[in-house]
C-alpha cells in the first residue's frame, strides 16, 4: 500500500539554525500539505501546495517558513531560523486528484529546538 514517508524521524537543532524537513508524498498525488502538532495540542495546518505553488497558508506560516518541491518527488519544509516554539511534530500529507479528498499523513518528524 502506498504511503507518505518523512525524514528524519527526529531532528534536534540549535535555536537560530535552519532546518529542512523532507517528505515523499504518494506518487500520483497532486496536493501536498504540512501540519504541525505541538506536544499535547491539536494538529495545526501550515500550508497547502498544488501545481508547484502555495495554494493556502495559515498565520503560523510566516516568512521563516518555505516549501519546495525540488524534484517532482520530494516535498520539503524549510524553517530558516528556528525558535524554541518551533519544537513540534511536523506532519506531511498528500491527497489525490481533488482538494476535497482524504489526506494521507506521513509518520511525522519530531523537531526539537534547543
Amino acid at each position: 500500500e502506498p504511503e507518505v514517508t518523512q525524514t528524519p524521524s527526529h531532528q534536534v537543532t540549535q535555536m537560530g539554525q535552519e532546518v529542512i524537513l523532507r517528505c515523499v508524498p504518494i506518487s500520483n498525488h497532486l496536493y501536498f500539505y504540512w501540519y504541525r502538532q505541538i506536544l499535547g495540542q491539536k494538529v495545526e495546518f501550515l500550508v497547502s501546495f498544488y501545481n508547484n505553488e502555495i495554494s493556502e497558508k495559515s498565520e503560523i506560516f510566516d516568512d521563516q517558513f518555505s516549501v519546495e518541491r525540488p524534484d517532482g518527488s520530494n516535498f520539503t519544509l524549510k524553517i530558516r531560523s528556528t525558535k524554541l516554539e518551533d519544537s513540534a511534530m511536523y506532519f506531511c500529507a498528500s491527497s489525490g486528484r481533488t482538494d476535497y479528498n482524504e489526506q494521507f499523513f506521513g509518520p511525522g518528524t519530531r523537531l526539537t529546538v534547543l
Binding site: Q41, E44, E56, F91
Partner: protein
C-alpha cells in the same frame, strides 16, 4: 473567523460503553472529514461527509452530518480498547481547520 469546536475534549469509558464526539462550526461547512490519531501516531482518515443530513457507517462507527451542515458527530457503539486515540473533525473548505479533538480512553 471560522471556528470548529469539538466536544468533549476527553472521554473515559468502560469497554463496551458507547462514545460520541461532536463537531460544531460557526459557519456552514462544505464538507467534514474525520480522522483518528492513535497515541504517538499520525492522523488516519476515517470518513468524509458532504451532503446535508448524511449518515455513514463503518462497522461500529456512525458518522452524521447535520441538516444545516454546521455540525457533525461520530458515534462508536460498544467501544473496544482498539478505539483508543484522539478523534478529529476536519473541514477542508476554505481555510483548513482541525477541531481540537476528543481524546478517548477505554478501560478494559
Amino acid at each position: 473567523g471560522q471556528q470548529v469546536m469539538q466536544i468533549p475534549q476527553y472521554q473515559h469509558v468502560q469497554e463496551g460503553e458507547d462514545f460520541t464526539t461532536y463537531c460544531n462550526s460557526s459557519t456552514t461547512l462544505s464538507n467534514i472529514q474525520w480522522y483518528k490519531q492513535r497515541p504517538g501516531g499520525h492522523p488516519v482518515f476515517l470518513i468524509q461527509l458532504v451532503k446535508s443530513g448524511e449518515v455513514k457507517k463503518q462497522k461500529r462507527l456512525t458518522f452524521q452530518f447535520g441538516e444545516a451542515k454546521k455540525n457533525s458527530s461520530l458515534h462508536i457503539t460498544a467501544t473496544q480498547t482498539t478505539d483508543v486515540g484522539t478523534y478529529f473533525c476536519y473541514n477542508q473548505g476554505g481555510k483548513l481547520i482541525f477541531g481540537q479533538g476528543t481524546e478517548l480512553s477505554v478501560k478494559p
